[in-house]
């Protein structure tokens, strides 16, 4: 259920009619995809809808970075921001339980790609994998990612550094040096 004040945030976030239209196109095009994404992580259908709504608010706030609703960049972001919101919601639901370090493993599960490096990326924690896709597959800049992932500049660099370290370690296990 969208909350009242989130509506207000949304309206404030998209004051420009062309951006409103762009948001509408993103909604029409990716709503189902985002719901499928959320339902992979959250078993409760209402929770999944809540996560998708939060994802749409994030999209609204970052609409200026999503210039082409039809592009793979926008599609990837729609899925990834939904995955993030779903994981966040899952954590909130589990807040009163003692979460183990395994929480990082919750995220989208998909068939492993064939390439060794790609397999290593797929094994990264969701937040690192999401970062890799948006930065290295879709070409979003660090500045864009700060807003899109709601991270500080320092956090972006930290994730990039940590991700590369993890990736190198994973590849070493496969007998590769990068």
């Amino acid at each position: 259920m969208a909350e009242v004040t989130e509506m207000l945030i949304y309206l404030q976030a998209i004051p420009d009619p062309p951006e409103q239209q762009r948001f509408r196109r993103i909604y029409d095009r990716y709503r189902d995809l985002m719901l499928h994404t959320a339902r992979r992580i959250l078993t409760d259908p209402q929770d999944a809808e809540d996560a998708v709504q939060e994802a749409f608010f994030a999209i609204a706030r970052n609409i200026s970075s999503l210039s082409d609703p039809e592009s793979s960049r926008t599609r990837s972001y729609a899925v990834i921001v939904t995955e993030r919101k779903a994981i966040d919601l899952y954590r909130r639901r589990k807040r009163q339980e003692a979460l183990s370090l395994q929480e990082e493993s919750y995220g989208l599960d998909f068939p492993a790609p064939s390439g060794v490096v790609a397999q290593a990326i797929a094994k990264l924690p969701p937040r690192d994998r999401e970062f890799v896709i948006l930065k290295y597959a879709e070409g979003y800049t660090n500045r864009e990612l700060m807003g899109m992932l709601d991270l500080s500049y320092a956090a972006i660099h930290s994730i990039d550094h940590r991700m590369k370290q993890r990736l190198r370690a994973l590849l070493r296990e496969e007998g590769m040096e990068v």
């Binding site: 259920m1 009242v4 004040t5 004051p15 709503r31 990837s76 989208l108 998909f110 990068v178």
Partner: protein
């Protein structure tokens, strides 16, 4: 390293996206209806929406511009608001200039036990500082919203009613007030809204409470501090 990363990242992206089905996904009526006002072209938003929410909500349509064409059902004399009733929507339109005075910080004196400021959501203020929304929650995951804002031209407060919901006219410390009781208290919140002409502020409290509890909370609202 970067070229390898880029190629591999594309491969992962494709695997991830390919794993997600494309077919239409059924959603609850609440999802679609509650998002629909957000998706409306704001050029059409000069006409008050008649869309119906599953859960009734009170909204401040701060960015929806002027509503000068509206045909009010009740115009409150020299007051700074008028009421329009359309089917399942009751909208208070506000008039007058926006004051330069900073909006005071209000608090609920008869605060219900077990509620605390929502850690996941900061207090929301409009860009002009003329509206503030505070969300509280309890350990059962129930929310309490306390919203208030200056009345001025271009702002409105709308309440969308579901079938079976009831509205009761009352007063809060002598101010005109309306209580909206949900027909489905297990899933929806009830609401009290009142207008203080003296303070030029429209208030609302929304949550899983009875009419009596809502009135008690409303009558206990006080100025915590002036900004």
């Amino acid at each position: 390293m970067r070229d390898i990363l880029c190629a591999a990242a594309l491969e992962v992206r494709d695997a991830m996206l390919a794993s997600l089905p494309e077919e239409p996904c059924a959603v609850s009526s609440g999802f679609e209806e509650s998002l629909s006002p957000l998706l409306a072209d704001l050029s059409a938003a000069h006409r008050p929406s008649l869309r119906k929410f599953v859960e009734k909500v009170a909204i401040l349509l701060l960015l929806l511009g002027c509503f000068s064409f509206a045909s009010p059902a009740v115009r409150a004399g020299m007051h700074r608001w008028y009421l329009e009733v359309r089917e399942d929507v009751r909208i208070h339109y506000f008039t007058g200039d926006l004051t330069d005075d900073p909006l005071p910080h209000y608090a609920i004196g008869a605060f219900p036990e077990g509620y605390y400021l929502s850690p996941e959501r900061e207090t929301v203020e409009s860009a002009s500082g003329s509206f503030r929304s505070i969300r509280y929650e309890n350990d059962e995951g129930k929310y309490l919203y306390f919203d208030y804002g200056y009345m001025h031209q271009g702002a409105a407060s709308a309440v969308y009613l579901d079938e079976g919901d009831t509205m009761i006219e009352t007063t809060v410390n002598g101010c005109p007030a309306e209580i909206y009781l949900t027909a489905t208290p297990e899933t929806s919140r009830s609401l009290i809204t009142w207008i203080s002409e003296e303070e030029n502020v429209d208030f609302s409290i929304m949550g899983h409470f009875s009419a009596e509890e809502l009135v008690e909370m409303a009558e206990s609202v006080y100025i915590e501090k002036k900004r």
